[in-house]
Protein backbone atom coordinates (compact mmCIF):
# COMPACT_ATOMS: atom_id res chain seq x y z
CA UNK A 1 0.00 0.00 0.00
CA UNK A 2 1.33 3.44 -0.93
CA UNK A 3 0.59 5.81 1.93
CA UNK A 4 -0.91 9.08 0.76
CA UNK A 5 -1.56 10.43 4.26
CA UNK A 6 0.85 9.85 7.09
CA UNK A 7 1.00 11.34 10.57
CA UNK A 8 3.76 10.83 13.07
CA UNK A 9 3.36 11.67 16.77
CA UNK A 10 0.91 14.34 15.73
CA UNK A 11 -0.24 16.52 18.59
CA UNK A 12 -2.27 19.68 19.00
CA UNK A 13 -2.94 21.72 22.09
CA UNK A 14 -5.27 24.65 22.58
CA UNK A 15 -3.75 26.35 25.60
CA UNK A 16 -3.85 23.84 28.41
CA UNK A 17 -6.23 21.54 26.53
CA UNK A 18 -4.66 18.70 24.58
CA UNK A 19 -6.84 17.92 21.56
CA UNK A 20 -4.49 15.39 19.95
CA UNK A 21 -1.64 13.52 21.60
CA UNK A 22 0.91 11.56 19.61
CA UNK A 23 -1.37 10.35 16.83
CA UNK A 24 0.38 8.26 14.18
CA UNK A 25 -1.14 6.39 11.24
CA UNK A 26 -0.85 5.81 7.50
CA UNK A 27 -3.63 5.65 4.92
CA UNK A 28 -3.40 4.51 1.35
CA UNK A 29 -4.73 5.97 -1.88
CA UNK A 30 -8.40 5.32 -2.52
CA UNK A 31 -9.24 4.30 1.04
CA UNK A 32 -12.39 5.51 2.76
CA UNK A 33 -11.30 6.07 6.34
CA UNK A 34 -13.76 6.54 9.18
CA UNK A 35 -12.59 8.73 12.04
CA UNK A 36 -14.56 7.51 15.00
CA UNK A 37 -14.80 8.92 18.48
CA UNK A 38 -17.02 10.47 21.08
CA UNK A 39 -17.58 14.21 21.18
CA UNK A 40 -14.30 15.92 22.06
CA UNK A 41 -12.22 12.94 20.95
CA UNK A 42 -10.16 15.08 18.56
CA UNK A 43 -11.80 14.08 15.26
CA UNK A 44 -12.41 17.61 13.98
CA UNK A 45 -8.99 18.78 15.14
CA UNK A 46 -7.35 15.97 13.19
CA UNK A 47 -9.27 16.88 10.05
CA UNK A 48 -8.56 20.61 10.50
CA UNK A 49 -4.83 19.87 10.66
CA UNK A 50 -5.02 17.63 7.58
CA UNK A 51 -6.92 20.42 5.81
CA UNK A 52 -4.23 22.96 6.70
CA UNK A 53 -6.52 25.17 8.74
CA UNK A 54 -4.47 24.48 11.87
CA UNK A 55 -0.80 23.74 12.27
CA UNK A 56 0.34 20.92 14.55
CA UNK A 57 1.81 21.69 17.97
CA UNK A 58 4.09 18.71 17.64
CA UNK A 59 4.84 15.76 15.39
CA UNK A 60 4.23 15.87 11.67
CA UNK A 61 1.64 15.31 8.99
CA UNK A 62 2.32 14.37 5.39
CA UNK A 63 -0.06 14.47 2.44
CA UNK A 64 1.52 13.07 -0.71
CA UNK A 65 5.05 14.47 -0.89
CA UNK A 66 4.26 17.47 1.29
CA UNK A 67 5.12 17.44 4.95
CA UNK A 68 4.32 19.77 7.83
CA UNK A 69 5.58 19.80 11.37
CA UNK A 70 8.77 19.00 13.27
CA UNK A 71 10.22 22.33 12.22
CA UNK A 72 9.14 22.09 8.58
CA UNK A 73 6.21 24.52 8.68
CA UNK A 74 7.27 26.24 5.50
CA UNK A 75 5.84 26.54 2.05
CA UNK A 76 4.57 22.95 2.08
CA UNK A 77 1.46 24.13 3.88
CA UNK A 78 0.01 25.80 0.76
CA UNK A 79 1.06 22.95 -1.50
CA UNK A 80 -0.54 20.50 0.89
CA UNK A 81 -3.77 22.47 0.94
CA UNK A 82 -3.96 22.27 -2.85
CA UNK A 83 -4.07 18.44 -2.56
CA UNK A 84 -6.88 18.40 -0.03
CA UNK A 85 -10.62 19.09 -0.26
CA UNK A 86 -12.36 19.85 3.01
CA UNK A 87 -15.98 19.96 4.13
CA UNK A 88 -16.30 21.16 7.73
CA UNK A 89 -19.33 20.13 9.78
CA UNK A 90 -20.97 23.45 8.88
CA UNK A 91 -20.54 23.83 5.09
CA UNK A 92 -18.63 27.06 4.34
CA UNK A 93 -21.17 28.56 1.97
CA UNK A 94 -21.79 32.16 0.96
CA UNK A 95 -25.56 32.13 1.19
CA UNK A 96 -26.13 35.13 -1.05
CA UNK A 97 -24.38 33.45 -4.00
CA UNK A 98 -25.87 31.11 -6.56
CA UNK A 99 -24.47 27.57 -6.55
CA UNK A 100 -22.74 27.94 -9.94
CA UNK A 101 -21.20 31.28 -8.97
CA UNK A 102 -20.01 29.88 -5.63
CA UNK A 103 -18.44 26.80 -7.19
CA UNK A 104 -16.76 29.02 -9.78
CA UNK A 105 -15.27 31.13 -7.00
CA UNK A 106 -14.03 28.14 -5.00
CA UNK A 107 -12.63 26.47 -8.10
CA UNK A 108 -10.69 29.58 -9.09
CA UNK A 109 -9.50 29.99 -5.50
CA UNK A 110 -8.10 26.47 -5.66
CA UNK A 111 -6.31 27.09 -8.92
CA UNK A 112 -8.69 25.56 -11.47
CA UNK A 113 -8.14 27.30 -14.81
CA UNK A 114 -10.99 29.57 -15.86
CA UNK A 115 -11.65 27.71 -19.12
CA UNK A 116 -11.92 24.41 -17.24
CA UNK A 117 -14.37 25.66 -14.65
CA UNK A 118 -17.69 25.16 -16.50
CA UNK A 119 -16.89 21.53 -17.30
CA UNK A 120 -15.56 20.81 -13.83
CA UNK A 121 -18.64 22.33 -12.24
CA UNK A 122 -20.92 20.28 -14.49
CA UNK A 123 -19.10 17.02 -13.72
CA UNK A 124 -18.96 17.56 -9.97
CA UNK A 125 -22.56 18.80 -9.82
CA UNK A 126 -23.71 15.63 -11.55
CA UNK A 127 -21.61 13.53 -9.21
CA UNK A 128 -23.21 14.98 -6.07
CA UNK A 129 -26.65 15.32 -7.68
CA UNK A 130 -27.01 19.09 -7.60
CA UNK A 131 -26.98 19.58 -11.37
CA UNK A 132 -30.59 20.74 -11.30
CA UNK A 133 -29.85 23.34 -8.64
CA UNK A 134 -26.85 25.20 -10.04
CA UNK A 135 -28.74 28.43 -10.59
CA UNK A 136 -30.42 28.49 -7.19
CA UNK A 137 -29.38 30.83 -4.40
CA UNK A 138 -27.52 28.80 -1.75
CA UNK A 139 -29.50 30.32 1.12
CA UNK A 140 -32.68 28.80 -0.32
CA UNK A 141 -31.37 25.22 -0.38
CA UNK A 142 -32.21 22.52 2.19
CA UNK A 143 -29.49 21.36 4.56
CA UNK A 144 -29.03 18.18 2.52
CA UNK A 145 -28.36 20.13 -0.65
CA UNK A 146 -26.10 22.56 1.20
CA UNK A 147 -24.03 19.60 2.33
CA UNK A 148 -23.89 18.40 -1.26
CA UNK A 149 -22.75 21.83 -2.43
CA UNK A 150 -20.15 21.66 0.36
CA UNK A 151 -18.91 18.33 -0.95
CA UNK A 152 -18.91 19.69 -4.51
CA UNK A 153 -16.60 22.54 -3.48
CA UNK A 154 -14.32 20.01 -1.79
CA UNK A 155 -14.11 17.91 -4.98
CA UNK A 156 -13.89 20.67 -7.56
CA UNK A 157 -10.10 20.89 -7.79
CA UNK A 158 -9.78 17.07 -7.96
CA UNK A 159 -7.88 16.68 -4.68
CA UNK A 160 -6.09 13.48 -3.69
CA UNK A 161 -7.60 13.61 -0.22
CA UNK A 162 -11.15 14.58 0.74
CA UNK A 163 -11.99 15.37 4.36
CA UNK A 164 -15.63 15.24 5.46
CA UNK A 165 -16.38 16.32 9.02
CA UNK A 166 -19.66 14.82 10.22
CA UNK A 167 -21.18 14.77 6.73
CA UNK A 168 -24.54 13.38 7.91
CA UNK A 169 -25.12 15.69 10.84
CA UNK A 170 -28.35 17.73 10.58
CA UNK A 171 -29.66 15.57 7.72
CA UNK A 172 -33.01 13.80 7.62
CA UNK A 173 -33.10 9.99 7.16
CA UNK A 174 -33.57 10.15 3.38
CA UNK A 175 -30.69 12.59 3.03
CA UNK A 176 -28.52 10.40 5.26
CA UNK A 177 -29.01 7.42 2.95
CA UNK A 178 -28.10 9.55 -0.08
CA UNK A 179 -25.06 11.00 1.66
CA UNK A 180 -23.90 7.55 2.70
CA UNK A 181 -23.99 6.37 -0.92
CA UNK A 182 -22.20 9.50 -2.03
CA UNK A 183 -19.38 9.12 0.50
CA UNK A 184 -18.99 5.46 -0.42
CA UNK A 185 -18.74 6.38 -4.10
CA UNK A 186 -15.98 8.91 -3.49
CA UNK A 187 -13.48 6.21 -2.49
CA UNK A 188 -11.38 4.31 -4.99
CA UNK A 189 -9.88 7.23 -6.85
CA UNK A 190 -9.21 9.42 -3.84
CA UNK A 191 -8.64 8.96 -0.13
CA UNK A 192 -11.63 10.02 1.92
CA UNK A 193 -11.66 10.74 5.64
CA UNK A 194 -15.13 10.94 7.15
CA UNK A 195 -15.55 11.66 10.81
CA UNK A 196 -18.56 10.55 12.78
CA UNK A 197 -19.78 9.44 16.13
CA UNK A 198 -22.50 7.45 14.39
CA UNK A 199 -21.16 3.92 14.15
CA UNK A 200 -23.56 2.93 11.42
CA UNK A 201 -22.20 5.58 9.07
CA UNK A 202 -18.67 4.37 9.57
CA UNK A 203 -19.69 0.73 9.36
CA UNK A 204 -21.51 1.19 6.06
CA UNK A 205 -19.17 3.58 4.29
CA UNK A 206 -15.59 2.98 5.40
CA UNK A 207 -12.80 0.60 4.48
CA UNK A 208 -10.80 1.31 7.60
CA UNK A 209 -11.33 3.05 10.91
CA UNK A 210 -9.35 5.34 13.17
CA UNK A 211 -10.68 5.25 16.72
CA UNK A 212 -9.84 8.38 18.69
CA UNK A 213 -10.50 8.92 22.35
CA UNK A 214 -9.48 12.00 24.33
CA UNK A 215 -6.96 12.93 21.67
CA UNK A 216 -5.28 9.55 21.49
CA UNK A 217 -5.46 7.00 18.70
CA UNK A 218 -6.83 3.83 20.29
CA UNK A 219 -6.96 1.69 17.15
CA UNK A 220 -6.50 1.82 13.40
CA UNK A 221 -7.40 -0.89 10.95
CA UNK A 222 -10.04 -2.38 8.74
CA UNK A 223 -13.31 -3.37 10.33
CA UNK A 224 -12.24 -6.99 10.07
CA UNK A 225 -8.95 -6.27 11.79
CA UNK A 226 -10.62 -4.40 14.60
CA UNK A 227 -13.25 -7.13 14.85
CA UNK A 228 -10.59 -9.83 15.14
CA UNK A 229 -8.97 -8.00 18.00
CA UNK A 230 -12.22 -8.04 19.89
CA UNK A 231 -13.40 -11.51 18.79
CA UNK A 232 -10.25 -13.08 20.12
CA UNK A 233 -11.53 -12.20 23.53
CA UNK A 234 -15.04 -13.63 23.21
CA UNK A 235 -16.06 -17.24 22.60
CA UNK A 236 -19.35 -19.11 22.39
CA UNK A 237 -19.29 -22.82 23.39
CA UNK A 238 -22.14 -25.37 23.26
CA UNK A 239 -21.40 -28.40 25.42
CA UNK A 240 -23.14 -31.62 26.34
CA UNK A 241 -23.88 -31.33 30.06
CA UNK A 242 -25.18 -28.82 32.56
CA UNK A 243 -24.04 -25.25 32.28
CA UNK A 244 -23.30 -24.91 35.98
CA UNK A 245 -21.01 -27.97 35.85
CA UNK A 246 -19.21 -26.74 32.74
CA UNK A 247 -18.61 -23.34 34.30
CA UNK A 248 -16.89 -25.02 37.23
CA UNK A 249 -14.41 -26.70 34.87
CA UNK A 250 -13.31 -23.63 32.95
CA UNK A 251 -9.64 -22.65 33.11
CA UNK A 252 -8.62 -19.44 34.87
CA UNK A 253 -8.82 -16.38 32.64
CA UNK A 254 -12.09 -17.45 31.01
CA UNK A 255 -14.86 -15.23 32.34
CA UNK A 256 -18.47 -16.28 31.87
CA UNK A 257 -20.56 -13.58 30.19
CA UNK A 258 -23.64 -15.75 29.73
CA UNK A 259 -24.63 -19.34 30.39
CA UNK A 260 -27.85 -21.26 29.82
CA UNK A 261 -29.17 -24.79 29.55
CA UNK A 262 -30.63 -25.27 26.08
CA UNK A 263 -32.49 -28.50 26.88
CA UNK A 264 -31.78 -32.00 25.67
CA UNK A 265 -28.71 -32.12 27.91
CA UNK A 266 -27.00 -29.32 26.03
CA UNK A 267 -25.95 -25.98 27.45
CA UNK A 268 -24.30 -22.87 26.03
CA UNK A 269 -21.64 -20.60 27.44
CA UNK A 270 -20.46 -17.22 26.23
CA UNK A 271 -16.98 -16.53 27.54
CA UNK A 272 -14.71 -13.52 27.70
CA UNK A 273 -11.14 -14.76 27.27
CA UNK A 274 -8.83 -12.55 29.29
CA UNK A 275 -5.47 -14.34 29.31
CA UNK A 276 -6.35 -17.75 27.95
CA UNK A 277 -6.68 -19.14 24.41
CA UNK A 278 -9.75 -20.92 23.04
CA UNK A 279 -7.75 -24.18 22.66
CA UNK A 280 -7.15 -24.22 26.41
CA UNK A 281 -10.85 -23.75 27.08
CA UNK A 282 -11.72 -26.59 24.72
CA UNK A 283 -9.03 -28.83 26.27
CA UNK A 284 -10.24 -28.16 29.81
CA UNK A 285 -13.86 -28.94 28.95
CA UNK A 286 -13.05 -32.10 26.97
CA UNK A 287 -10.68 -33.23 29.74
CA UNK A 288 -13.53 -32.86 32.23
CA UNK A 289 -15.76 -35.06 30.08
CA UNK A 290 -17.90 -32.43 28.38
CA UNK A 291 -18.55 -33.12 24.72
CA UNK A 292 -18.22 -30.00 22.67
CA UNK A 293 -21.08 -29.49 20.19
CA UNK A 294 -20.00 -26.13 18.90
CA UNK A 295 -17.16 -23.70 19.56
CA UNK A 296 -17.08 -20.35 17.73
CA UNK A 297 -15.63 -16.90 18.18
CA UNK A 298 -18.39 -14.35 18.63
CA UNK A 299 -18.62 -11.97 15.69
CA UNK A 300 -19.13 -8.62 17.29
CA UNK A 301 -20.52 -5.49 15.74
CA UNK A 302 -18.64 -2.26 15.49
CA UNK A 303 -20.47 -0.80 18.44
CA UNK A 304 -19.08 -3.41 20.81
CA UNK A 305 -15.60 -3.06 19.36
CA UNK A 306 -15.77 0.67 19.79
CA UNK A 307 -17.08 0.53 23.34
CA UNK A 308 -14.54 -2.13 24.28
CA UNK A 309 -11.75 0.09 22.97
CA UNK A 310 -13.01 3.21 24.66
CA UNK A 311 -13.84 1.52 27.95
CA UNK A 312 -10.46 -0.10 27.94
CA UNK A 313 -9.06 3.41 28.20
CA UNK A 314 -9.79 3.89 31.87
CA UNK A 315 -13.54 3.61 31.55
CA UNK A 316 -13.76 7.03 30.02
CA UNK A 317 -16.77 6.16 27.90
CA UNK A 318 -18.93 5.80 30.95
CA UNK A 319 -17.57 9.07 32.27
CA UNK A 320 -18.53 10.94 29.11
CA UNK A 321 -22.23 10.77 29.95
CA UNK A 322 -25.22 8.84 28.67
CA UNK A 323 -26.08 11.32 25.92
CA UNK A 324 -22.75 11.00 24.26
CA UNK A 325 -22.52 7.27 24.69
CA UNK A 326 -26.02 6.96 23.24
CA UNK A 327 -24.90 8.73 20.10
CA UNK A 328 -22.52 5.92 19.39
CA UNK A 329 -25.20 3.33 19.50
CA UNK A 330 -26.34 3.64 15.93
CA UNK A 331 -25.02 0.33 14.76
Amino acid sequence: MTAIVRTDRLSKSFGAVTALAGVGFECGAGEVVGVLGLNGAGKSTLLRILAGELLPSGGSVQVGPFRLGDGEQGDDSRAMRSRVGYLPEEPPLYREMRVREYLGFVGALNGVARHELPDRIAVVAERVHIDGHLDRVIGELSMGYRKRVGIAQALLHAPDVVLLDEPVSSLDPAEIVGMRELVRSLGGRRTVFTSSHHLREVHETCDSILVLHEGELLAHGTQEELGVLADRQRLEVDVRGKAVDAVGRLPGGAEVVHSADLGGGVSTLTLELLDVESEEVAGALVGAGFGIRRLAPVRSDLERVFLDLVRGDGGAAQASGPGQTGETGGS
Partner: protein, 240 residues
Protein backbone atom coordinates in the same frame (compact mmCIF):
# COMPACT_ATOMS: atom_id res chain seq x y z
CA UNK B 1 -2.28 38.58 -7.94
CA UNK B 2 -5.25 36.86 -9.57
CA UNK B 3 -6.13 35.24 -6.23
CA UNK B 4 -6.05 38.65 -4.52
CA UNK B 5 -8.35 40.12 -7.18
CA UNK B 6 -10.62 37.07 -7.02
CA UNK B 7 -11.12 37.51 -3.28
CA UNK B 8 -11.46 41.30 -3.65
CA UNK B 9 -14.09 40.92 -6.36
CA UNK B 10 -16.14 38.53 -4.24
CA UNK B 11 -15.85 40.86 -1.27
CA UNK B 12 -17.02 43.81 -3.32
CA UNK B 13 -19.94 41.88 -4.83
CA UNK B 14 -20.96 40.65 -1.38
CA UNK B 15 -21.09 44.27 -0.17
CA UNK B 16 -23.61 45.09 -2.88
CA UNK B 17 -25.49 41.79 -2.58
CA UNK B 18 -27.13 42.55 0.75
CA UNK B 19 -29.03 45.38 2.39
CA UNK B 20 -26.07 46.25 4.59
CA UNK B 21 -23.91 47.70 1.81
CA UNK B 22 -26.75 49.69 0.31
CA UNK B 23 -27.65 51.04 3.76
CA UNK B 24 -24.07 52.29 4.23
CA UNK B 25 -24.15 53.88 0.79
CA UNK B 26 -27.47 55.59 1.53
CA UNK B 27 -26.18 56.84 4.88
CA UNK B 28 -23.05 58.27 3.30
CA UNK B 29 -25.06 60.09 0.64
CA UNK B 30 -27.50 61.39 3.22
CA UNK B 31 -24.78 62.74 5.52
CA UNK B 32 -22.77 64.28 2.68
CA UNK B 33 -25.94 65.90 1.31
CA UNK B 34 -27.11 67.15 4.70
CA UNK B 35 -23.75 68.74 5.56
CA UNK B 36 -23.48 70.27 2.10
CA UNK B 37 -26.97 71.65 2.42
CA UNK B 38 -26.40 73.01 5.92
CA UNK B 39 -22.97 74.55 5.43
CA UNK B 40 -22.74 75.70 1.87
CA UNK B 41 -26.01 75.93 -0.04
CA UNK B 42 -27.34 79.48 0.01
CA UNK B 43 -24.09 80.87 1.39
CA UNK B 44 -21.88 83.25 -0.51
CA UNK B 45 -18.68 81.23 0.02
CA UNK B 46 -16.17 81.00 -2.83
CA UNK B 47 -16.04 77.69 -4.72
CA UNK B 48 -12.68 76.69 -3.25
CA UNK B 49 -14.06 77.07 0.27
CA UNK B 50 -17.18 75.09 -0.64
CA UNK B 51 -15.03 72.31 -2.02
CA UNK B 52 -12.78 72.38 1.04
CA UNK B 53 -15.81 72.06 3.33
CA UNK B 54 -17.12 69.19 1.22
CA UNK B 55 -13.83 67.32 1.55
CA UNK B 56 -13.80 68.05 5.28
CA UNK B 57 -17.20 66.40 5.81
CA UNK B 58 -16.51 63.67 3.27
CA UNK B 59 -13.33 62.80 5.18
CA UNK B 60 -15.29 62.12 8.37
CA UNK B 61 -18.10 60.26 6.59
CA UNK B 62 -15.59 58.10 4.70
CA UNK B 63 -13.78 57.20 7.92
CA UNK B 64 -17.06 56.07 9.47
CA UNK B 65 -17.96 54.14 6.31
CA UNK B 66 -14.59 52.35 6.41
CA UNK B 67 -15.27 51.24 10.00
CA UNK B 68 -18.76 49.95 9.14
CA UNK B 69 -17.61 48.16 5.99
CA UNK B 70 -14.54 46.47 7.47
CA UNK B 71 -16.13 45.37 10.74
CA UNK B 72 -17.78 42.60 8.69
CA UNK B 73 -14.69 41.63 6.73
CA UNK B 74 -13.16 38.76 8.71
CA UNK B 75 -15.48 38.81 11.72
CA UNK B 76 -18.62 38.06 9.67
CA UNK B 77 -16.86 35.26 7.82
CA UNK B 78 -15.81 33.79 11.12
CA UNK B 79 -19.36 34.05 12.50
CA UNK B 80 -20.79 32.45 9.36
CA UNK B 81 -18.00 29.85 9.36
CA UNK B 82 -16.94 30.63 5.81
CA UNK B 83 -13.45 31.86 6.68
CA UNK B 84 -12.30 28.24 6.68
CA UNK B 85 -12.85 28.21 2.91
CA UNK B 86 -10.12 30.82 2.47
CA UNK B 87 -7.83 29.43 5.15
CA UNK B 88 -7.85 25.90 3.71
CA UNK B 89 -7.39 27.02 0.12
CA UNK B 90 -3.91 27.27 -1.42
CA UNK B 91 -4.16 31.08 -1.09
CA UNK B 92 -1.50 32.54 1.18
CA UNK B 93 -2.41 34.59 4.23
CA UNK B 94 -1.13 37.76 2.54
CA UNK B 95 -3.35 37.07 -0.48
CA UNK B 96 -6.39 36.58 1.76
CA UNK B 97 -5.76 39.77 3.73
CA UNK B 98 -4.97 41.85 0.63
CA UNK B 99 -8.02 40.51 -1.19
CA UNK B 100 -10.37 41.35 1.66
CA UNK B 101 -8.68 44.73 2.15
CA UNK B 102 -8.93 45.71 -1.50
CA UNK B 103 -12.55 44.56 -1.68
CA UNK B 104 -13.48 46.66 1.34
CA UNK B 105 -11.45 49.63 0.10
CA UNK B 106 -13.17 49.32 -3.27
CA UNK B 107 -16.56 49.60 -1.62
CA UNK B 108 -15.47 52.58 0.51
CA UNK B 109 -14.22 54.33 -2.62
CA UNK B 110 -17.57 53.58 -4.29
CA UNK B 111 -19.26 55.53 -1.49
CA UNK B 112 -16.80 58.37 -2.13
CA UNK B 113 -17.56 58.26 -5.85
CA UNK B 114 -21.31 58.27 -5.18
CA UNK B 115 -20.99 61.67 -3.48
CA UNK B 116 -19.07 63.12 -6.43
CA UNK B 117 -22.25 64.85 -7.59
CA UNK B 118 -21.40 67.61 -5.10
CA UNK B 119 -18.11 68.68 -6.76
CA UNK B 120 -19.94 68.33 -10.09
CA UNK B 121 -22.52 70.85 -8.84
CA UNK B 122 -19.70 73.16 -7.79
CA UNK B 123 -18.24 72.80 -11.29
CA UNK B 124 -21.59 73.52 -12.93
CA UNK B 125 -22.62 76.44 -10.72
CA UNK B 126 -19.30 77.82 -9.55
CA UNK B 127 -15.65 77.90 -10.37
CA UNK B 128 -14.14 74.49 -9.67
CA UNK B 129 -10.38 74.28 -9.36
CA UNK B 130 -9.44 70.91 -10.79
CA UNK B 131 -6.15 70.79 -8.89
CA UNK B 132 -7.90 71.21 -5.56
CA UNK B 133 -10.47 68.57 -6.51
CA UNK B 134 -7.76 66.10 -7.53
CA UNK B 135 -5.74 66.76 -4.35
CA UNK B 136 -8.85 66.44 -2.19
CA UNK B 137 -9.83 63.13 -3.70
CA UNK B 138 -6.26 61.86 -3.41
CA UNK B 139 -6.34 62.79 0.28
CA UNK B 140 -9.69 61.04 0.75
CA UNK B 141 -8.34 57.91 -0.97
CA UNK B 142 -5.24 57.88 1.25
CA UNK B 143 -7.32 58.37 4.41
CA UNK B 144 -9.70 55.62 3.27
CA UNK B 145 -6.73 53.32 2.70
CA UNK B 146 -5.49 53.91 6.26
CA UNK B 147 -8.91 53.53 7.92
CA UNK B 148 -9.76 50.42 5.89
CA UNK B 149 -6.45 48.81 6.90
CA UNK B 150 -7.15 49.59 10.56
CA UNK B 151 -10.65 48.14 10.22
CA UNK B 152 -9.36 45.04 8.45
CA UNK B 153 -6.93 44.39 11.29
CA UNK B 154 -9.62 44.88 13.95
CA UNK B 155 -11.95 42.53 12.09
CA UNK B 156 -9.23 39.87 11.81
CA UNK B 157 -8.38 40.15 15.49
CA UNK B 158 -11.89 40.42 16.97
CA UNK B 159 -14.21 37.56 17.89
CA UNK B 160 -17.30 39.22 16.38
CA UNK B 161 -18.47 42.14 14.26
CA UNK B 162 -19.49 44.34 17.17
CA UNK B 163 -16.11 44.05 18.86
CA UNK B 164 -14.44 44.70 15.51
CA UNK B 165 -16.53 47.83 14.97
CA UNK B 166 -15.84 49.18 18.45
CA UNK B 167 -12.10 48.52 18.18
CA UNK B 168 -11.87 50.02 14.70
CA UNK B 169 -13.94 53.03 15.76
CA UNK B 170 -11.59 53.61 18.68
CA UNK B 171 -8.39 53.30 16.64
CA UNK B 172 -9.68 55.44 13.76
CA UNK B 173 -10.85 58.13 16.19
CA UNK B 174 -7.45 57.99 17.85
CA UNK B 175 -5.88 58.69 14.45
CA UNK B 176 -7.61 62.07 14.26
CA UNK B 177 -7.11 62.93 17.94
CA UNK B 178 -3.33 62.62 18.00
CA UNK B 179 -3.09 66.39 17.72
CA UNK B 180 -4.77 66.66 21.14
CA UNK B 181 -2.17 64.31 22.59
CA UNK B 182 0.54 66.30 20.89
CA UNK B 183 -0.75 69.47 22.59
CA UNK B 184 -0.42 68.02 26.08
CA UNK B 185 2.84 66.12 25.52
CA UNK B 186 6.43 67.21 25.96
CA UNK B 187 9.10 66.90 23.29
CA UNK B 188 9.89 64.65 21.58
CA UNK B 189 6.52 62.88 22.03
CA UNK B 190 4.57 65.93 20.91
CA UNK B 191 6.28 65.76 17.51
CA UNK B 192 5.65 62.05 17.21
CA UNK B 193 1.95 62.44 18.01
CA UNK B 194 1.61 65.38 15.64
CA UNK B 195 3.22 63.39 12.82
CA UNK B 196 0.75 60.56 13.39
CA UNK B 197 -2.35 62.72 13.26
CA UNK B 198 -4.38 61.74 10.23
CA UNK B 199 -6.46 64.88 9.80
CA UNK B 200 -4.52 67.99 10.79
CA UNK B 201 -1.08 66.80 9.80
CA UNK B 202 -1.95 64.82 6.73
CA UNK B 203 -5.39 65.40 5.27
CA UNK B 204 -6.08 69.09 5.91
CA UNK B 205 -3.55 70.36 3.32
CA UNK B 206 -5.08 68.04 0.69
CA UNK B 207 -8.59 69.44 1.14
CA UNK B 208 -7.18 72.86 0.32
CA UNK B 209 -5.38 71.58 -2.76
CA UNK B 210 -1.85 70.97 -1.42
CA UNK B 211 -0.30 67.52 -1.94
CA UNK B 212 2.29 66.65 0.71
CA UNK B 213 4.91 64.02 0.02
CA UNK B 214 5.04 63.00 3.70
CA UNK B 215 1.39 61.91 3.49
CA UNK B 216 2.13 59.89 0.38
CA UNK B 217 4.63 57.98 2.53
CA UNK B 218 2.61 58.00 5.76
CA UNK B 219 -0.62 56.47 4.42
CA UNK B 220 0.90 53.44 2.64
CA UNK B 221 3.22 52.84 5.60
CA UNK B 222 0.45 52.84 8.20
CA UNK B 223 -1.76 50.75 5.89
CA UNK B 224 1.01 48.21 5.38
CA UNK B 225 1.63 48.03 9.13
CA UNK B 226 -2.00 47.18 9.90
CA UNK B 227 -2.20 44.69 7.02
CA UNK B 228 0.96 43.03 8.30
CA UNK B 229 -0.66 42.78 11.73
CA UNK B 230 -3.74 41.24 10.10
CA UNK B 231 -1.58 38.59 8.43
CA UNK B 232 0.12 37.86 11.74
CA UNK B 233 -3.30 37.43 13.38
CA UNK B 234 -4.32 34.87 10.74
CA UNK B 235 -1.04 33.02 11.14
CA UNK B 236 -1.39 33.03 14.91
CA UNK B 237 -4.85 31.49 14.60
CA UNK B 238 -3.38 28.54 12.75
CA UNK B 239 -0.95 28.02 15.63
CA UNK B 240 -3.24 28.81 18.55
Amino acid sequence: MSTVLLIARRELRASFAGLYGWAILALVLMLDGLFFNAWTLGSQRPSSEVLSLFFYTNFGVTMAAAVFVTMRSFAAEREQRTLVLLLTSPAGDWQVVLGKYLGALGFVLCTVAAAAYIPVMVWLKGNLEWGQAAAGYLGIALAAAVCTAIGTFCSAASPNQLAAGVAAGFLVTLQVLFWLLSGISDPPLDGVFAAMDLYREHFEPFQDGAVHLKTLVYAPTVSFLFLLLSVRVLQARRWR
